[in-house]
Amino acid sequence: MVRLSRVMLKEAGNAIDKTLSEILVCPLSKQPLRVCEKTKSLVSDTIGVSFPIKDGIPCLVPKDGKILEEDGDASKAS
């Protein structure tokens, strides 16, 4: 059902559903992502970028990524 993924979200308490968590990787580095419950985002540790999850839908577009570290390199690949 279309609503199935939402039900899974509520029950599991995870930010994204299981199917996606198995296949999603960072769009820029192609490395696995870490789910961060606190900020409701997916974090790519290799490049230090976090991608938001809006309304249960992960937004893995490079432009939506937020740089986590505060070092000088603020260039977001697009």
Partner: protein
């Protein structure tokens, strides 16, 4: 990244950049660098040092396309393309448990899927959040486990070898880096996975192209191209092989859609999310020229849409491979003798 200048150069093309619509919620394109002041090819020259020419402003495209496409539920042309694409699944004996559907016309694909292809898990992806949301909220009687994701085809966030099938209906012709997107699709496929795509071909809207050029010449005394770069059929095969797909297949279909008038056509293009702001500016002249040049006897005007369907498989040991040169054991003379002397 590969240079795609040669591919796009063939149509002598231009740039389409989306602009935020003023009052309406549909998509407008402003070809900023292609106005007569800016000069043709201004921006692409700046970018020629990088290996990718940024032709489409994907950021703007994300926001604007969603609303219109979701409202137009019964677009027969888009449905026909989706139906044709999905039909090919029935031709395969294989079933595809997990499928990724890339943006373009997501709605029709989801709606018309039914039970084809043995799909158990469907993942819908688009660059626009609104589009995905409206897709999720649509009332479709699909019992397939569907997940939604916002992502860019040029930066596919899918792990290697993780999906069995990738479908893209009328979406890839919006990418700046089509070969790159296709390569990423190939990587995301499992071995013996299938890639199915439908893109608009070079013959699309040729009547409109002519009318626009003439209108522009009349009004502004120059030629500024207005329709986005579209692949030619001969390029499609190359694209598939370059991406590394095995058993590539390309076929073309031409749909001639009849409209009551040229203005109706322009409205329809807006509805599909495919127009250009310069088109809007010279709309009246363009429409007049179009009507006078191409009207048929019953007063309707035709518009050609050429759709190129591409299929490719991710290599697998079961696929037939071409033999190495010089390894032949039978010569043509022998075959000729065997099958009689008819040439």
């Amino acid at each position: 990244m590969r240079r795609i200048n040669s591919l796009y150069g063939r149509n002598g093309i231009l740039k389409r950049v989306f602009e935020k619509p003023a009052k309406q919620s549909h998509a407008f394109l402003a070809s900023r660098s292609f106005s007569t002041e800016g000069g043709y090819g201004g921006e692409s020259q700046q970018n020629s040092s990088s290996s990718r020419v940024k032709i489409f402003d994907r950021e703007l495209k994300r926001r604007d396309r969603a609303a219109w496409l979701s409202r137009n539920k019964n677009d027969t042309f888009v449905d026909a393309v989706a139906e044709n694409l999905l039909d090919r699944l029935e031709d395969c004996k294989k079933s595809f448990p997990s499928a990724l559907c890339l943006g373009g016309s997501l709605g029709p694909v989801k709606r018309l899927l039914r039970d084809r292809g043995g799909i158990e898990k469907l993942i819908m992806m688009d660059t626009s959040h609104d589009m995905i949301k409206s897709c999720r909220d649509a009332q479709d009687d699909n019992s397939i486990d569907t997940s939604y994701l916002v992502g860019d085809e040029e930066f596919l966030p899918i792990k290697e070898s993780s999906v069995d099938l990738i479908i893209s209906s009328l979406g890839l012709h919006w990418t700046n880096d089509l070969p790159g997107s296709m390569i990423q699709c190939k990587l995301a496929l499992k071995p013996d996975g299938l890639f199915l795509a439908a893109i608009l071909g070079g013959e699309t809207l040729k009547e409109l192209r002519i009318a626009c050029t003439l209108a522009h010449m009349e009004r502004e005394g120059g030629i500024s191209p207005r329709l986005s770069p579209l692949a030619q059929v001969r390029d499609a095969g190359n694209l598939l092989t370059r991406a590394g797909f095995s058993l590539p297949g390309v076929d073309v279909d031409e749909y001639v859609v009849k409209y009551k008038s040229a203005l109706d056509l322009i409205e329809h293009l807006r509805a599909m999310g495919e127009t250009n702001a310069l088109l809007q500016r010279n709309k009246a002249t363009t429409a007049a020229i179009y009507d006078s040049m191409f009207a048929t006897e019953d007063g309707t005007i035709p518009a050609t849409f050429q759709v190129i369907y591409m299929t490719g498989w991710k290599e697998h040991s079961s696929h037939p491979q071409a033999k190495r040169r010089g390894s032949a054991t039978v010569s043509f003379t022998d075959i000729h003798k065997q099958f009689g002397g008819q040439s």
